[in-house]
């Protein structure tokens, strides 16, 4: 059973040694500080464990990945939170519910994927004709479609193909075309007019500008000039001004 396998994953980390299940529980009860925990070491320990067992149990591996991803997300939220209570205050039950929701989603779609696999296998041997229409009919198609394609689609495709994988694109940061200072000024001018959503702040902006704007927002938060609320993942981020005296430290990322 998967539970046994994951529970048996023995960890020997700087801030914790014991089985994975225990670590999970302690994290959920806030008895081990997630911020102190090097999740990369947990992953390495898991990989060692797999190597020792000499076989890859996909069920367990998937479960592990889902759990570690959930821990990572909780951790990044804690790191961004900075200030003590508001965001840090995730009840153990709530955290457990989140992890549970993740695991259920993962299970559902794994089952749905298996179902799709069966459907595809059931269609084995069914082939479709892929012959082009006879030339005289093809001419009719051609005639109807002159000028119907947008050349910009080709330029955009080249743009996509020119993009380097993320690791190499660090160069973008070295040669920023958008400065944090500039985005700070932009956000402050919006703040002077009241509250606004992140969408409004980056309307029509390219991806780089969106990223830099987010940095600028974090900076404003750190300085106590702005606060934000996001009700749900991928939901709208509402930003409002905040009158506070002492600047709050943000943990180094």
């Amino acid at each position: 059973m998967t539970a046994v396998t994951l529970a048996n994953l023995e960890l020997d980390l700087e801030v914790f040694s014991g089985p994975f299940d225990l670590l999970l529980t302690l994290v959920l009860r806030e008895e081990v500080d997630l911020l102190e925990l090097a999740l990369a070491d947990v992953v390495l320990a898991y990989l060692d464990h797999l190597e020792r067992r000499g076989e890859l149990d996909l069920e367990t591996a998937t479960e592990f990945i889902v759990l570690i991803a959930a821990l990572l997300e909780l951790k990044s939220r804690l790191m961004l939170g900075g200030e003590e209570q508001e965001l840090l205050d995730i009840e153990p039950e709530q955290a457990a519910e989140e992890l549970l929701a993740r695991m259920l989603d993962a299970r559902r779609f794994r089952a749905a994927a298996a179902h799709l696999g069966e459907l595809l296998a059931g269609e084995h041997g069914v082939r479709f004709r892929a012959a082009p229409p006879p030339p005289r009919l093809r001419r009719a198609i051609v005639h109807a479609a002159d000028g119907s394609h947008d050349p910009d689609a080709l330029g955009a495709a080249i743009g996509r193909l020119l993009s380097m994988p993320p690791t190499i694109s660090v160069r973008h940061i070295a040669v920023p075309r958008v400065s944090v200072a500039e985005r700070l000024a932009h956000l402050r001018s919006l703040l002077r007019r009241g509250s606004f959503s992140f969408d409004e702040a980056v309307r029509g902006a390219d991806r780089m500008t969106v990223a830099v704007t987010l940095f600028a927002l974090l900076e404003l938060y750190k300085r106590g000039e702005a606060d934000w609320v996001q009700q749900e993942s991928f939901g709208e981020i509402a930003i409002r001004g905040q009158a506070r005296e002492a600047p709050v430290e943000v943990l180094a990322g």
Binding site: A3, L104, F109, L116, G117, A121, H124, G125, R127
Partner: protein
């Protein structure tokens, strides 16, 4: 449904033969300059003639329309002739990504990644390349959205997306859920109390 017109059945058959995409009764009616009722009657006649096991070709309702397909019984001969397998099976990552898109479309790649817990980049690139999914605009954060294609419905033998079973069908029972929840909260305690 109107009485079958042999002439129209022949025209519909020719159109189905020529088109590589499934054709809806409305599209057939437009092209044949006939009423949709008459087209449905013609399709019923053809469905009878192409009933499974009668010919080397079958008539199927797939991907929102009607299409002709080979009878699976001829697969061995087809593989020898074309030396190309029909369609490669999906890897587990591809199948999972496809299932997520099929059930939650339109959905962005970051959301797929969030559900899977691992990157979906390479799986979604392969699915795009095999025309099983396609782009469907952008989310408000600029992420590309994906949806499934007619090709997906065709290859998986589905008339439309409604034919996919309710996702709740695979939910664990309330007891199993309670047990999982319990495990998440109590694993440590059980461990501490229960020996090695």
């Amino acid at each position: 449904m109107s009485a079958p017109e042999p002439e129209l059945a022949r025209t519909v058959e020719a159109l189905l033969f020529l088109s590589s995409d499934p054709l809806s009764p409305a599209e057939l009616a437009d092209a044949a300059e006939a009423g949709e009722g008459a087209v449905l009657a013609a399709l019923a006649v053809l469905a009878e003639q192409y009933a499974p096991g009668r010919r080397g070709i079958t008539l199927r309702e797939l991907g929102g329309g009607w299409t002709l397909a080979s009878d699976p019984a001829s697969e061995d001969a087809a593989r020898r002739l074309f030396s190309r397998p029909r369609a490669a099976a999906l890897s587990p990552a591809q199948a999972e990504t496809l299932a997520i898109v099929a059930y939650l479309q339109p959905i962005s790649r970051p959301e797929i990644t969030r559900i899977r817990g691992v990157s979906a980049d390479s799986a979604s690139a392969t699915l795009l390349d095999r025309s099983l999914i396609e782009e469907a605009g952008h989310s408000r954060f600029g992420a590309v959205l994906y949806r499934t294609t007619t090709q997906f419905l065709k290859l998986f033998g589905l008339r439309d997306l409604d034919e996919l079973p309710d996702i709740a069908r695979w939910d664990p029972t309330p007891e199993e859920q309670a047990e999982l929840r319990e495990r998440l909260l109590r694993a440590g305690e059980a461990r501490a109390g229960g020996g090695p």
